[in-house]
């Protein structure tokens, strides 16, 4: 009897404890979530405000500021005026093309150049390798800001020799891309059911077409560059002045180098025994194995060059070659200053990137964390 009541007491006690634990658990969850949500608001409110203001009439943007309406679209007066106004006042599409073109060429051609350099440093034995490696590592510390002014001086008066060398590098890159695309498309076309039976000349024409189309950005760049060099020595106000100085980057080389030395040497030795040369080993073994580091470098460089501001500001005039970030100043300096239009422009620049980020956020996060852990 006594034990029974004791048991009942114990049971009640246990239930009570469980209740308390549950309440504590819920309270902690509530606190944690309210903190998380509050912080989420802190981090998102300027972006929400920007997007909402982009769709409001100009006078409402300021009138709504005093209340929570600043974050809410008014169903009554949603308007596309601001966006139309952006298109009226600047060549938005052209600015967008400039930004995309310079950013994508810098990122993709940069991936090539830097990973090849890293492979050369990590795997090949050649005179001066250790010196070059330490040079690259020590260059990481030199920020662009430190050389911007002399670099501007230099690109303004490029000597003939430097023009030829840089153009040569661009041509070499284009040729390399042609070679790769030629081989890959040849392999694809001769194996694919639909095209296998085609006669050889037709396949070759198709190969050449894909080659020219895929390498189009580099070809366009080379075309512009030749035209500008022909006109005079200055590189100012062009696409290549925004691209070529930033293709090779010590930090990217370093990230690739670190990844490559982690790949077991057995892989390339096996390929070497099979008769593969250094370029084939690089292209067919190292590159497919290094997808994570390619994504890392691509995303970090994309973020850096999409928001690139100081250098384009210094070397471009007028909207012919200016990227979006520099074009923004037009709305801030030319009357009338309409905050609705400014917010619309900001939103139109930001939203595509935000959507890309949301789609590939796992890659973004992975790239950022791997830039830190190893650095």
């Amino acid at each position: 009897m006594t034990t029974g009541t004791l048991n009942q007491q114990q049971l009640a006690e246990a239930q009570r404890r469980e209740m308390i634990a549950r309440v504590i658990h819920i309270v902690r969850r509530v606190i944690a979530y309210s903190l998380l949500i509050f912080l989420g608001f802190v981090f998102l409110f300027p972006i929400i405000f920007m997007v909402v203001a982009a769709f409001k009439p100009n006078d409402r943007v300021i009138a709504d500021l005093a209340s929570a309406k600043a974050f809410l679209p008014n169903p009554g007066d949603l308007t596309m005026d601001n966006i139309n106004n952006v298109f009226d006042r600047v060549r938005f599409g052209h600015l967008m093309f400039n930004s995309l073109f310079t950013t994508l060429v810098t990122v993709i051609a940069g991936l090539f150049i830097n990973s090849m350099a890293a492979y050369v440093l990590a795997r090949l034995r050649w005179f001066g390798r250790t010196f070059m490696l330490s040079l690259v590592v020590s260059l990481i510390i030199i920020p662009l800001e430190a050389i911007a002014v002399p670099l501007m001086m230099q690109v303004n008066q490029m000597s003939g020799l430097l023009n030829i060398v840089t153009l040569g590098i661009l041509v070499l890159l284009t040729g390399l891309l042609w070679l790769i695309v030629w081989n890959a498309s040849g392999k694809f076309l001769s194996e694919h059911d639909a095209t296998r039976s085609l006669p050889n000349p037709v396949i070759n024409v198709l190969q050449a077409l894909t080659m020219v189309i895929i390498a189009l950005p580099l070809e366009v760049l080379a075309y512009f560059m030749i035209g500008q060099i022909d006109e005079g020595g200055s590189w100012l106000n062009s696409y290549h002045v925004q691209i070529l100085p930033f293709l090779a980057e010590p930090f990217s080389i370093f990230l690739f180098y670190q990844f490559f030395i982690g790949i077991p040497k057995d892989f390339d030795e096996a390929a070497y025994v099979d008769g593969a040369g250094p370029f084939r080993i690089y292209w067919q073994i190292m590159v497919p194995l290094s997808r994570p580091v390619i994504a890392t470098v691509a995303i970090l460089k994309f973020l850096q060059f999409w928001s690139f501001y100081m250098w384009p500001l210094m070397v471009t005039r007028g909207d012919e070659y200016q990227p979006l970030m520099v074009g923004m100043s037009y709305f801030q300096t030319q009357a009338p200053i309409l905050w609705g239009s400014i917010m619309a422009y900001a939103a139109m620049v930001t939203i595509p990137v935000l959507i890309t980020f949301l789609l590939f956020q796992k890659w973004f996060v992975a790239s950022v964390s791997s830039s830190g852990v190893k650095g």
Binding site: G40, F43, I113, A117, I141, A146, V149, M343, A346, V353
Partner: protein, 408 residues
């Protein structure tokens, strides 16, 4: 000699050498052309009076004249002469002597340049009075009269009184020092606060809560938004009259706390830029800390839990030591980034802010070299900037090395 070439370019090694040249050549050549050579040229240009418009430059005499102009700074005691200047001297402490024209203008309009609330004089005589010759005066006396003729090239960067004496920090180029100090101010505020906040956020989103990835994404989204865009939006938010930030401050405190002038006030402009920069950058650091946190083995927490450690002790004795390398990386990169501060400053306060309160070293170098075409002088500022960045990272690295030596 032949043996050397044989060794470098013959056989397997030779083929490697050739491929190294072909594959690595583009990157190494570009690095030389666009990084190393401009750097060396910058060293050379910094000793000249080169201008961007292409006018012939001459080597300065002495060659370090630019550096002398940038780096000359001194602390002097100001002589205690009676102040017989009828109006408050300009900010710079010693001021340009009034020319007869200026004096005549003041007499004509019966006003005083610099007197508070005197707009007549400002409107009519300001320009005339500005064109005074460059002889500085201190309290109505020419510098020679009070024994300061040595410092005629200098301007007062800041003056203060200590034990009843007037002292002044004087520099040949006060704006450079102002920029350097602003950089330190920015770094000293941003580095600790951003690192601590990032760690806090990382711990918060590392809890095993459903939907934590949603919050991680939210906190990271400012990082993928371009700094220029953010700066423009925040410039609007910081507006003293109708800015959202002031409205929110007044709303939250029920109107008890009045908002600030932010970018238009010399004391709040830098904090405004600091807050925005932390807001933008903290997500990046959070992700790096998150990776560090997830590398800590779970057993360490279990073991310390069994030993009776509470949450704070676990954080102090497990989390922090295990995050040491991550912490070092974050602090190093944030510090270097702080000294490269330019974009936000140039967008939000293109003229360097009220009383140059947001001018930074890089901003100043770009202004000299790009806006004012003084490439030689700007190159010298850039060289000093690199030297400062190098010194800071060397100091940080040596501290790190000492600590890891202690650990062993």
């Amino acid at each position: 000699m032949q043996a050397f070439f044989e060794k470098q370019f013959g056989g397997q090694r030779g083929r490697d050498g050739l491929m190294a040249l072909l594959m690595g050549g583009p990157a190494f050549l570009l690095l030389v052309i666009f990084m190393i050579w401009p750097f060396i040229r910058g060293l050379d240009l910094s000793t000249t009076n080169q201008r961007f418009d292409g006018a012939a430059a001459t080597r300065l005499d002495p060659w370090y004249a630019n550096y002398d102009q940038i780096l000359s700074v001194n602390l002097i005691q100001l002589p205690d002469v009676p102040d017989d200047v009828p109006y408050s001297a300009p900010r710079a402490g010693w001021y340009r002597a009034r020319t007869p024209d200026c004096k005549a203008c003041e007499d004509e309009f019966e006003c005083e340049i610099g007197a508070e609330g005197d707009t007549i004089c400002a409107n009519n005589c300001a320009q005339m009075c500005e064109k005074g010759d460059l002889i500085f005066r201190w309290r109505g006396k020419s510098l020679g009269e009070v024994g300061l003729e040595k410092w005629a090239d200098y301007e007062i960067a800041r003056n203060f009184s200590l034990f009843g004496n007037q002292y002044a920090i004087i520099a040949k180029d006060p704006l450079f020092w102002k920029g350097l100090m602003n950089n330190f101010y920015f770094a000293l505020a941003v580095v600790p606060v951003q690192t601590a906040l990032a760690l806090l956020l990382a711990i918060l989103v590392n809890q095993k809560l459903p939907y934590r990835n949603v919050f991680r994404t939210m906190y990271f989204s400012p990082v993928v938004t371009a700094m220029v865009i953010i700066a423009v939006v925040w410039k609007f938010l910081y507006n003293p009259e109708f800015g959202l930030i002031n409205e929110m401050i007044e709303f939250i405190t029920f109107g008890q706390v009045k908002g600030s002038d932010w970018l238009q006030s010399s004391t709040m402009a830098m904090p405004a830029i600091i807050i925005m920069s932390i807001w933008q950058g903290v997500g990046f650091q959070m992700i790096i800390f998150l990776a560090g946190l997830q590398d800590i083995p779970e057993d360490l927490y279990e073991a310390s839990g069994i030993d009776g450690a509470n949450m704070w002790q676990q954080f102090r004795f497990v989390t922090l030591p295990m995050l040491r390398n991550t912490m070092i990386f974050v602090v190093l990169t944030t510090t270097i980034l702080a000294f490269r501060l330019f974009d936000q400053v140039n967008v939000m306060t293109p003229d360097g802010g009220p009383e140059e309160s947001t001018a930074t070293m890089v901003w100043y170098a770009i202004r000299q070299g790009w806006t004012q075409f003084s490439v030689g002088y700007a190159s010298a500022i850039s060289v000093v900037f690199v030297a400062i960045v190098l010194i800071i990272s060397l100091i940080q690295r040596s501290i790190v090395r000492e600590e890891s030596a202690l650990d062993r």
